[in-house]
């Protein structure tokens, strides 16, 4: 273990202990213990002293050890979020993405879409942005970026070294991947955290409802980003060439994968008619691709279990915050009774962008959504969704997201350039959420 990690480990324990030992008036024992676990979790997720999923599992351990004895709830209350229907939904999304990737369907799709782009640099950039965002709706933002960046780098090779358009090609990919992740519940892990809280109680947000709510915002942001990139980095070349793109025909196995993808998508989009919840539908591709030998047991072991456990950590923390009475205590302490939900929405979404700029977006959602959802029971849905989406707007530094790190790693853009573009897109996104977005969410009775 690195010395700095060990120091953070020890510091984390001390911080948790100090929080527990400070006398707080009006707090019950369970809420006080939960607060200590919560603060410890924030410290560990921010410092990344432990792998993110290990912190998630440690939360479960501390809840079982410290909360269970003082709370009258079954132990399963803390364990069950680790395989909730939301986790199943995300697992289905990961399996689908891995299958598309293994059979190169993502690349074939990208190539087919990009072939329509033509040679005009502005239209090529728009097509790159839209293609990346579309792929990122179904696959991880990182995988979409890695694939599309390889194409972008090839394009920039044929453009003069001093043409600013090179930068817009490289920056356009992470921007589109981050924004594209908003478009489906499986697009990026913070969406799953938000969905878990959106589907509590009587509220229910289906897969298709999520898309109806978020896709217009996503498209608007993509177009704004495209114009912004062209404004900051206008192309000098009159034409840009794509690398030689594959035009291969689909083989039998690829057709099977596409059929499974289509079946899953149709089932997700038609939930209001057949009533099968998206988490249940997500098991269909898992059963079909492994049952049909399209993926093998080795592929199953390679599923990103760490992401699923990280999501579970946030959800179990949310359950503890509610059951221990910590959320009620915080509401009382902050005197939020008179604060309008709208103001709270603006404050929390802005804070989410700030926090997510420096730490993993999933960690930020895990920290903020459970507490924020408890602050305003009447607007918990809107606030959860706002935080989930706002985390995708944090993209001003290379450390903000893995796609940003990849773009920066190309060596073709500076931190200053990334910061300028990322900050402006983040601010525009926040303004959009706080204006039309809020009214839009209200229309869906969230």
């Amino acid at each position: 273990m690195k010395k700095s990690n060990l120091t953070n480990w020890i510091l984390g324990i001390i911080v948790g202990l100090v929080v527990y030992l400070i006398p707080l008036s009006g707090i019950n024992e369970a809420a006080h213990r939960c607060l200590a676990i919560f603060v410890w979790a924030i410290f560990m997720w921010v410092s990344e002293a432990l792998p993110l999923f290990v912190t998630a599992l440690a939360i479960l351990f501390f809840e079982s050890l410290l909360l269970k004895p003082v709370l009258n709830v079954p132990l399963e209350k803390f364990f069950s979020p680790f395989f909730s229907s939301t986790i199943a939904l995300f697992m289905g999304g990961l399996v689908l993405a891995d299958t598309l990737q293994k059979y190169h369907i993502d690349e074939m799709l990208a190539h087919r879409l990009l072939k329509r782009a033509g040679k005009n640099p502005a239209s090529l950039l728009l097509m790159m942005i839209l293609t990346t965002a579309f792929i990122s709706m179904w696959m991880s933002n990182t995988a979409a970026t890695a694939m599309m960046m390889a194409i972008a780098v090839s394009v920039t090779r044929n453009i003069s070294a001093d043409d600013p358009f090179r930068k817009s090609m490289i920056l356009g990919i992470p921007v589109a991947a981050n924004i594209g992740g908003m478009g489906t519940p499986v697009g990026t892990p913070p969406n799953a955290v938000a969905l878990q809280f959106l589907n509590k109680g009587e509220m229910h947000v289906s897969f298709v409802k999520w898309m109806i709510i978020t896709v217009p915002i996503m498209i608007l942001l993509l177009i704004v980003s495209w114009r912004l990139l062209l404004y900051f980095f206008p192309p000098r070349a009159h034409s840009a060439d794509l690398p030689l793109l594959s035009g291969e025909k689909l083989d039998r196995r690829q057709k099977s994968v596409l059929t499974i993808f289509a079946i899953t998508l149709i089932l997700w989009l038609t939930e209001p008619w057949h009533g099968l919840k998206s988490g249940v539908v997500a098991l269909v591709p898992v059963i079909l691709v492994f049952g049909g030998n399209l993926l093998n047991p080795g592929d199953f072991r390679k599923i990103e279990w760490d992401i699923l456990f990280l999501l579970g950590g946030g959800m179990t923390l949310g359950a503890a915050v509610e059951d221990s009475g910590l959320s009620k205590y915080v509401i009382g302490m902050l005197s939020l009774d008179g604060v309008s939900p709208y103001l709270l929405f603006i404050i929390l979404t802005s804070f989410t962008v700030l926090l997510s700029t420096f730490i993993s977006h999933t960690s930020a959602a895990n920290i903020l959504i459970p507490m924020a959802a408890g602050l305003q029971q009447t607007s918990a849905g809107i606030i959860s969704l706002g935080i989930g989406l706002a985390s995708s707007l944090a993209m001003s530094l290379p450390i903000s997201t893995p796609p940003n790190a990849i773009a920066f790693g190309s060596g073709q853009i500076t931190i200053k350039e990334m910061f300028k573009v990322g900050l402006i897109i983040g601010l525009i996104g926040l303004a959009l959420l706080a204006s039309g977005g809020y009214i839009w969410f209200k229309l869906f009775k969230l």
């Binding site: 993110l52 893995p402 790190a405």
Partner: protein, 118 residues
């Protein structure tokens, strides 16, 4: 440098001239067969975990990152920096290490050595 370097020799004729046969195929790991250039026996076989083209390290990285995801931008940045390290310089250091402290054990003996954590 926290490593040992062994320059592989043919166990039969002790030649250090080799040919590499890199094998690609569907549903199999990329495999490198090393043949002695002098007596033509099979010296060893390696399965490829990671490949970096010294002339295009970023492109090599992009190929591999698709299977090696992380949720953390910080970790991703560290991964990229290790790819962007100057491979020529790294290789020169490795050759120097071999000159200074050559590893003489057979590779399977090194793999058995628990202190390396293989």
């Amino acid at each position: 440098m926290e490593c040992k370097v062994k320059r592989e020799k043919c166990p039969h004729c002790h030649s250090d001239k080799h040919h590499n046969y890199v094998v690609f195929g569907k549903n199999r790991k990329i495999t490198v067969y090393v043949e002695c250039a002098d007596c033509h026996i099979l010296v060893s076989r390696y399965s490829l975990e990671q490949y970096i083209d010294p002339n295009a390290p970023f492109e090599s990285f992009l190929k591999q990152i698709r299977d090696n995801r992380t949720e953390s931008g910080r970790k991703m940045l560290n991964n990229i920096q290790s790819y962007r390290a100057d491979l020529t310089e790294e290789f020169a250091n490795i050759k120097q290490e071999w000159k200074d402290h050559p590893e003489t054990r057979r590779i399977y003996e090194i793999l058995d050595d628990d202190s390396w954590g293989y």
